[in-house]
Symmetry: C2
């Protein structure tokens, strides 16, 4: 039985692993990859210590950090089940393995809802972005599209418009967003709204060069030359694995307190999979550290308790 | 009037500055130094992205990050007053200057309570440490002392004992700590407790070589050869400047919610000066980012509100 099983190898999970290893806990890290969402981030300019670094490069540095420690890892495996045991938790993976841990940190992140269009997957990190805060400055002086009709799409449009030459907000559905935010975007001289348009394809070979949209009123297809497209149609927390086990909000985010504790003792959560505000690498690393230190205190407390009862 | 005034130039304040500058806010950063408590941290092995870096080097990298942006800075100045205005806040500094901001982020950190002994200040970062989690691994195979009688001293002793050859816990006063924690330290084969001893001097020229203690029972002075001393007699939040303005806990930490909001709209706080658990660089950077993004949303909201009322 491991002291701690960490699910997820993004910034939160990797930081939790380093902090836990430094506490000499016997840990197991299970993740489909090391890097998570950052792997498909074009550039990172807001992780302190690096004025500019590409997402995958930063994650390689995180990996080097992890490699300093004898951490038991199952990379390429997907955890599909978390259940409670008398003295901890059981985690099962897609490949049929079963692992046991006295505590678990869930750091499985979020996945962006995708348009699921031709070209989208291939051009991720090559003009297709899911993070305006991260990648906005990269498109200085360019014309870019933002896809979406909610607050995050409008905020993304405004964020990107600080840098881009011009932003075209493409929305299939009527806007469902704060009125004041809608007003400010409507008044913005560098943003054009294109409502009632459905994006049908993302074009480009090794970089995005444009999109094709269908005008839902006329039924005609329209082309648009853009250097990038920000897809802001929502994020899905990877929290299905603990559904029914811990409290979540309507968005499916795991509810944690300021200590990264869920409602279930011994089960911690950190980063984007939780209700922590702001989806940022620095925020996720901070939360990962908190979860690890809190899990360490939990193990200590329960161990001492067990010791006292012997 | 600035959009935002950031008080404090440690990890939380510098991160808030970078995030706010990227949002193109007109900000002013006031701090006695750039780097804060990290400047006197011997080595940092738990800031993700750097497997090992000296505290001042990491802070220089943070500084380079800040230098990318046209941030208005007053370094070497100490803010001594924060007051509310109709449309924001006024900040006054020790040198008599007065600044105005529509929002304020307080990231002034904590200061360790010092022993205030001969040699202590001179040997900071040269064997005198105030952070067991940060510097513990540096003393692998060495004999070190830990000064203090509370939970944090006991936890520090145990942390350091994972690495050090031996740890001597020196306490002047009777232990005031969790009984189970006291038990576990008492049973620990690599920790010796020396109660009723008052440390009188820290010895060493360019590195700590030992301490002198007074045995409070016999009144005799005793020397002890150690390679380092961890001073764990408490931390003092630098929150005096907003006393009476925002809610604090008994320790003087500013109470914030998960969004780094204090009870006063427009006044945010981040990092060690707040009630956020775990005093770590990664945690502080995460909190600084949150405070900045939240302050940005606040400014946007109030600006839009002002716009709507025009």
């Amino acid at each position: 039985m491991h002291d701690l099983i960490i699910l997820g190898g993004g910034p939160a999970g990797m930081t939790a692993a380093v902090y836990s290893a430094r506490k000499k806990l016997n840990i197991l890290l299970i993740s489909q990859d090391l890097g998570g969402q950052v792997l498909w981030t074009l550039s990172v300019e807001n992780y302190m210590g690096f004025t500019f670094i590409e997402g995958p490069d930063l994650m390689r540095r995180f990996e080097e950090h992890i490699a300093q420690f004898p951490i038991d890892m199952r990379i390429g495996e997907k955890a599909v089940f978390v259940g409670q045991l008398d003295n901890g938790f059981e985690v099962r993976t897609e490949s049929g393995e079963s692992y046991q841990g006295r505590a678990v940190i869930l750091a499985t992140g979020k996945r962006p809802r995708q348009l699921e269009l031709p070209g989208e997957a291939r051009l991720q990190g090559r003009g297709v972005s899911y993070c305006a805060v991260c990648d906005g400055p990269v498109f200085a002086g360019e014309v870019v599209a933002v896809a979406g009709s909610g607050n995050s799409a409008l905020e993304a449009a405004r964020d990107v418009a600080s840098f881009a030459e011009h932003v075209i907000l493409v929305a299939r559905d009527p806007l469902v967003a704060d009125e004041m935010l809608v007003d400010s975007v409507k008044r913005h001289s560098k943003i054009t709204m294109l409502l009632g348009h459905e994006i049908r394809a993302i074009k480009g070979f090794d970089r995005v060069t444009g999109i094709t949209m269908r005008d839902l009123v006329t039924g005609e297809d329209v082309g648009l030359e853009v250097a990038g497209i920000f897809v802001e149609i929502g994020l899905i927390p990877n929290s299905e694995i603990v559904r029914g086990l811990v409290h979540m909000n309507d968005a499916g985010e795991i509810l944690v307190n300021g200590y990264c504790e869920t409602n279930m003792p011994g089960l911690f959560a950190a980063g984007d999979v939780t209700n922590v505000p702001h989806k940022q690498i620095v925020v996720a690393t901070g939360e990962g550290a908190k979860a690890s230190l809190q899990a360490h205190m939990y193990l200590l407390r329960t161990e001492l308790l067990a010791g006292a009862l012997r």
